[in-house]
């Protein structure tokens, strides 16, 4: 989750530091735009060496730190 927070700070363009956000805090309320969510996704793909499948490319997947963590978990499990 700390790794996700670091990438959020880099690409999410949030109005607060990611460390101040609870795992289930709404990232869109924190200022995540659809443009930034794509940049965030690319940052996550690079850092975790994963590729988000089309079925995960929706608002819900990137709605909170916990949701992102779940999604990455799912992708890595599916790949294993």
């Amino acid at each position: 989750m700390d790794k996700i927070r670091a990438i959020l700070d880099q690409f999410g363009k949030l109005k607060v530091p990611a460390s101040s956000l609870a795992p289930d805090a709404d990232l869109y309320d924190a200022g995540l735009t659809s443009f930034a969510s794509v940049q965030l996704m690319l940052g996550l793909e690079e850092a975790f060496d994963v590729e988000f499948p089309e079925s995960m490319l929706n608002r819900k997947t990137f709605s909170s730190i916990a949701a992102i963590n779940r999604a990455i978990g799912e992708i890595t499990r599916a790949a294993a």
Partner: protein, 395 residues
């Protein structure tokens, strides 16, 4: 006898009721354009035919019409008067926000009933000075004071602002909120003041009277939609807007093509046995019109499918598809009218000929800048960094 017209109105389908409105819109289209004025006759007729609440569920007094039915009406009206059709479309887009996101709040349900019963006309104030066409970002913020809220917005473009009975307006949810943390509120005519800041003297779509205003209001907080505007935009507004606008632009293009056909037929009659030189170009243009129709019709079914699943509606792939509907139909409309201009020649170029497409050309050129295509392509190109095109050919 006194209630005969009402009974007739009841027996006919909304699309049948639209026919008489179309005649009225056509009769006044040129005057509306020349005089830069609101198409009042069309809207009196729409209200008389009870067509402003058609999208509202029957249980609240409307006709429960589907998106496909509404888009078809936009296209039919667009063939007669593009400004009338665009106002009709913008109003229905606002109604669609109520229908999709207003059913969990007593105030919004009540308001929907009023729209149907009193045939209220709804305007939209998303565009803001300093932000432009970026719907998903606001500078102005809601200021809450107990059970009421206040808002001041530099609303640079509010179509038919002075004729609206209520305006749906976006703003940041509170003074400390991020620019994308927005809400939308319904504000009634007697709750806001409009101070005109910008005139509407434009190339086309002159009848929309899309003047700029400083919008100031005070209203009960319950008039703010309970869901964030992000959801309203993603789940209904963007798709509805692009498809209904596409319907209007299709109407402009279709009427231009009809004028080319009429012109060529008259030419062919004058010289029997000879094919007029523009005939080949018409064949090509009709192909583009058919493409445009397919994009709209398949866009509507994509929306109907996506509607069944929230995740699909807010997916990147669906956004890309709807953005493409907007960009391709707006380009096609202008391309088609320009081709008709070549076919009809000087008769198309004149303002006063029955084969004129001068107004069509001016109206169609608004499509590419109504949320600038470059802005939309910029967004789409970002989404395409991660999203793959759906290559399935099954509808």
């Amino acid at each position: 006898m006194a209630n005969a017209p009402a009974r007739v109105a009841h027996l006919q389908t909304p699309r049948q009721r639209l026919e008489s409105v179309i005649q009225i819109a056509r009769a006044h289209a040129s005057e509306v354009d020349c005089e830069n004025r609101f198409p009042a006759e069309t809207f009196e007729a729409l209200k008389r035919a009870r067509l402003l609440g058609v999208m509202i569920p029957a249980q609240y007094g409307g006709d429960s019409l589907s998106l496909a039915d509404i888009v078809d009406m936009c296209g039919a009206l667009g063939q007669a008067c593009a400004s009338s059709a665009m106002i009709f479309a913008m109003h229905q887009i606002k109604v669609s926000s109520l229908v999709t996101h207003g059913t969990e709040s007593a105030w919004h349900i009540d308001f929907m009933k009023r729209v149907a019963a009193e045939q209220l006309l709804l305007g939209s104030a998303t565009t803001e000075g300093g932000i432009g066409g970026d719907l998903r970002s606001s500078i102005c913020a809601i200021e809450r004071d107990g059970a009421i809220f206040r808002l001041v917005k530099e609303a640079n473009v509010i179509s038919y602002g002075r004729q609206s009975d209520a305006i749906l307006i976006t703003a940041r949810s509170h003074s400390g909120a991020a620019s994308s943390d927005q809400v939308m509120a319904v504000v009634l005519r007697d709750q806001y003041a409009l101070e005109k800041t910008i005139d509407w003297d434009t190339l086309g779509m002159r009848g929309t009277c899309s003047e700029g205003f400083r919008f100031t209001c005070e209203a009960p907080a319950e008039q703010i939609f309970p869901h964030p505007f992000a959801e309203i935009a993603a789940q209904s507004m963007l798709a509805m807007a692009h498809l209904m606008w596409g319907g209007v632009w299709f109407g402009i293009a279709a009427d231009a093509v009809a004028r080319a056909q009429a012109y060529l037929r008259a030419e062919a009659r004058k010289r029997p046995g000879e094919k007029p030189p523009g005939a080949i170009r018409l064949a090509e243009t009709v192909g583009v019109l058919q493409e445009m129709k397919s994009v709209i019709v398949s866009g509507i079914s994509a929306y109907e499918r996506a509607k069944l699943r929230d995740e699909e509606l807010s997916s990147v792939g669906f956004s890309v598809a709807m953005n493409n509907v907007k960009v391709t139909t707006s380009q096609a409309a202008a391309d088609i009218v320009r081709d008709v201009l070549l076919i009809n020649g000087i008769y198309g170029y004149r303002n006063d000929s029955p084969y004129s497409v001068a107004r069509h050309m001016r109206d169609a050129l608004s499509a590419a800048i109504m949320i600038n295509n470059d802005r939309i392509l910029g967004n789409t190109s970002n989404l395409l960094l991660v999203s793959k095109f759906d290559t399935s050919l099954v509808a």
